[in-house]
Structures are given as structure tokens and as C-alpha cells.
């Protein structure tokens, strides 16, 4: 079907657009997952890496669309696996594109020894820790839509429960025709509510951790970077809660159709569901992009702070630093590359954080050295598996 391969091409383009926007989300001292001192940000190797990255993305887009067009006219597509395979291949190619740039920047950095003579520091703002971040509860307002929709779905289920037939459809093909039925039981009827609850709980606990995640303050522009990182964090948390509300709303909608009409879902509904998810994802991308752009512009391109300038922003700022090394010098963010596998996976036994800011992209990533991180990862992976298992049990 033409409309479906068009939808698939749109999905591919959104995925590639996201990859193209990622460098603008990231802190300025992180280039393709490599920590770069502020005085090397204008290095020609970085321009070269960026150009290579974008050329790679265009290449991937052309190949993916060509592949899509080829399988479209082929029986192979009837199996329904071509689209996911092309999508996975495109994602993998994106990572390879990133990794080649990462390797190149890292190599140049090591050869030229960019951190030689630089004073590497980490900064914590204790007033912010107990002040603005302490008010994390305020952000629960953004969880409200998700919770209201969840409650509404449960209430609707309870009201409609007596009227639901003994056997009702629970699974639909891409055209919205029912192709799976279940016997009526509390479990089978309320499974979607359980699903909503689990999605909401996982997102709730992740955002609670994200609010407590460390703020990486760039010593070369401490005030701007702190403000920017915190604003980005709030935007992402708000966006994630809106996404959660959308997931819950889609589940409510599907259930309203199943429970009240006890019949077909219709192609329009399936199309609408896909469009809503796509619109929300694209809107979130642009929201983040605009946030990153505006905060960066207002932050400005500051010259490197010397230690005395930093001292002026906080009365005792660098007392310990000054007494230890004696010479004033530029303070730069710590070169933390050694804790990042391929620049994207964090493994640091010393760091008690479970979630830390990502190094390539917006949001956070797990500290793989913390057992709690693995609990979360298993939980996220177990959710779809649980749905399948319970779905099979309920329909038998």
C-alpha cells in the first residue's frame, strides 16, 4: 500500500532529522561524545567531523528511501518485516556515522593533547541543589494530564464492564480489522489500564531520578551553562510527561472504541493514532531544538573565564584551586572521556548517580556501574514482553 510506505518514509525522515538536530542539543564542550576544551572549539577537525556527519546522514536518507522504494514493489514486503528492517538498518547506520566522527575527533584530540596545561574542574552549586531543584514537586503538575486520563480510563472500564460481550476484540491489524479476540475477564478488560499504569509509573520514577541527576556546569561559562542545562532538563521532563499523556490518551481512545462499540476499530482510527504519535515526536524535537537555540544565543559566546573572573561570581569560588597550583589559568570542564564507552555509555563506579546527562543528544543516560540502572533497563525491556505474555494468556 502506497500510503503505508509513505508513512514509513516519513518515520525514516523524522529519525534522521532527530539525528541531524542532536549536535545542537548537546553542551558546547561535547563534540560527538568527546570532551573538547573551550579554546579548541574552533579547531578545523571539528568542522570536518560535523561536515562528515551531515554528509553521512544525507547518504543514509538516500539509501533508506531507495531501499523503501525497492521493497515496495516486491513481494518481500508482504511479510511485513521489510519496514522494521530498513528502520533498524538506518538507526544502526546513524550510530556508525556518529561513531566514525567520534573516533576521528578523539584521535585528533589525543594527538594534539588538547588538555595539556588546562585546569580541569567540576562544579557543584549547593544553593541550586537545595533551592530550585528541591522544588522538583512543582513539575508534578505536568504529570496531571497523564494521571487524569489514566483515572478516566479506569472509570470508563468500570462503567462499561457489564455491557462488554463475552468475547471481544483485543488485537487489530494495521488496517484496524480485529484479528485477535479475548474472553471477558477482569484481567483482559483492564489490561490496557494496567498498561497505562505501568507506563506512567516508569515515566514517573525516571523523571524523579532525572530531576535529581547532576547538573554539569561548564567552568568556562558557569552561569549560562547552569541556566541552560536546567532549562533543557525541565523542557525534556515536561515533554516526556506530555508524551506519556498522549500514550495514555491513545489507549483510552482505543478502549473507548472497543468497550463502547464492541466492534471494529476502523482504518481512520489507526491512521489517527500514528499521526498523533508522529506529531508529538516531531513537536518535541522542535521544542527542544528551539530551547537549545534560544538558551545558547542568550548565553552568548563567552570568552574563557579566568579563575579570578569565576571568583568574582562567587566570593570564595576557587580558593582551594588558587592555593594549590598558584598560577591563574583557564578553568575548563573535566575531561571525563575515560568513563564513556564509545562516548555514549557511562560506566563510573565512583559516581553514585544512576542517571547522568547524555553526552550525545538530549536527556539522560544510565550509569551502567549502578545496579539500579540495570533494574530500570530490565523494567523497560520487560514491559513489552509482559504485554505479549499477558495478551496470550488472556486470549486463551
Amino acid at each position: 500500500m502506497w500510503s503505508w510506505s509513505l508513512a514509513q518514509i516519513l518515520v525514516l525522515l523524522v529519525v534522521l532529522l532527530a539525528a541531524a538536530l542532536v549536535p545542537s542539543f548537546t553542551q558546547r564542550t561535547l563534540v560527538f561524545g568527546v570532551r573538547v576544551p573551550p579554546n579548541r572549539l574552533g579547531h578545523p577537525a571539528l568542522q570536518r567531523a560535523r561536515r562528515g556527519y551531515y554528509i553521512g546522514l544525507v547518504g543514509i536518507a538516500v539509501l533508506a528511501i531507495a531501499a523503501e522504494a525497492m521493497v515496495d514493489s516486491h513481494l518481500f514486503n508482504d511479510l511485513g518485516i521489510a519496514d522494521p528492517v530498513i528502520l533498524m538498518a538506518a538507526l544502526l547506520a546513524e550510530f556508525v556515522d556518529y561513531y566514525l566522527c567520534h573516533r576521528y575527533v578523539r584521535k585528533v584530540k589525543q594527538e594534539d593533547d588538547w588538555y595539556a596545561g588546562q585546569r580541569q574542574v567540576v562544579i557543584a552549586d549547593t544553593a541550586w541543589m537545595s533551592g530550585d531543584r528541591g522544588k522538583g514537586g512543582v513539575w508534578l503538575v505536568w504529570a496531571l494530564p497523564s494521571l487524569v486520563i489514566l483515572a478516566a480510563t479506569a472509570v470508563l472500564g468500570i462503567i462499561e464492564f457489564p455491557r462488554i460481550p463475552e468475547v471481544f476484540p483485543v488485537h487489530f491489524d494495521l488496517q484496524g480489522q480485529p484479528n485477535g479476540w479475548a474472553h471477558k475477564s477482569v484481567l483482559s478488560v483492564f489490561l490496557p489500564v494496567v498498561l497505562q499504569l505501568m507506563v506512567t509509573l516508569i515515566i514517573g520514577s525516571l523523571t524523579a531520578l532525572a530531576v535529581r541527576a547532576p547538573l554539569r556546569i561548564d567552568a568556562s561559562e558557569p552561569n549560562e551553562s547552569a541556566r541552560r542545562e536546567w532549562l533543557m532538563a525541565r523542557r525534556i521532563i515536561q515533554g516526556v510527561w506530555l508524551l506519556c499523556a498522549c500514550i495514555n490518551a491513545v489507549l483510552l481512545w482505543i478502549n473507548a472504541v472497543i468497550w463502547t462499540q464492541a466492534g471494529r476499530l476502523g482504518t481512520e482510527v489507526m491512521m489517527a493514532v500514528n499521526v498523533i504519535v508522529a506529531v508529538v515526536v516531531v513537536a518535541m524535537l522542535f521544542w527542544l531544538y528551539i530551547t537549545a537555540r534560544t538558551t545558547r544565543e542568550s548565553g552568548g559566546r563567552h570568552a574563557d573565564f579566568s579563575s579570578s573572573q569565576l571568583q568574582a561570581t562567587g566570593p570564595q569560588g576557587t580558593g582551594a584551586v588558587d592555593s594549590s597550583s598558584g598560577h591563574p589559568g583557564r578553568l575548563v570542564p573535566r575531561d571525563d572521556d575515560r568513563y564513556w564507552i564509545a562516548g555514549v555509555f557511562y560506566f563510573n563506579r565512583d559516581d553514585p548517580s544512576v542517571l547522568v546527562p547524555k553526552r550525545f543528544g538530549a536527556g539522560w543516560t544510565f550509569n551502567m556501574a549502578r545496579p539500579l540502572a540495570w533494574v530500570f533497563l530490565l523494567g523497560i525491556l520487560a514491559l513489552p514482553a509482559l504485554i505479549v505474555v499477558v495478551g496470550v494468556v488472556a486470549s486463551n
Binding site: 574542574v121 567540576v122 562544579i123 537545595s130 535529581r212 541527576a213 558557569p222 582551594a320 553514585p352
Partner: protein, 132 residues
Amino acid sequence: MRIVLELESPQPLYQQIRDQIVLALATGELRDGDGLPATRQLAAEFGINFHTVNKAYDLLREEGLIRLTRKSGAVVHREPPPPAFADDWKQRARVLLAEAYVKGMSRTEIQAACESILNGFAADESGTEEWS
């Protein structure tokens, strides 16, 4: 307050944390009754081992500058100094001033530097006066 840790510094990290908290107390940025972040929280913010922060807090507690309670964590609480404190401190100040002296800084330069450092400290001395 902002705590800045220099990672390649020969001075240990716990010492850097301790020194900056002492300076914040002197400038009045930290006052009696102010809370300090929990050790794990502060360590997470830096991405360092929480034992390092623990060590700094233990040092400050031994010096009678903060109190550690199970309920409210670390709280600034200045206790009167032990009798030997002034003598110990003079020994350390002597070495510090000697460093300037042997490098050829003049008496007036050293005095002016001391004066300007003291002027940077909080004018509010009510907390210390009751001990003298």
C-alpha cells in the same frame, strides 16, 4: 555557594571541599544553621566517590564547624575553639607568611594582603565575639 574541585590538583579533593566550606563560613555565605547537601548528593553532582565527601564532612565535624545528624544531615554549627587552637593556627600562619617573606614580599605588602583578605570576610562577627 559554588564548590569548584580541581581534579588534577596535588591537593586532595576532600581538602578542597573542606577549604571552600571554611572560606564560605568566613565570608558569611554560609551561616550557623545552614544545611549542606547530603554526601551522596554532593558526590553525585561532582561524579566522585561519596567517601571523599564524607571525609571532608568528618574533617569539618572534628574541627567543630558542622554537626552531622541522622535526621537533617550536615548542618553548620560552630563550636568554641579548643584552648590550643590559637597556637596551632599561629604556627600555620607563620609558615604561610614566611613563604611570602622569603620570596621577597615586603612587610607592607604582606600586611596589605592580610588586611584585604580580612576585609573580604563577613562584617557580622557576632558569632565569634561571644567566645572571646
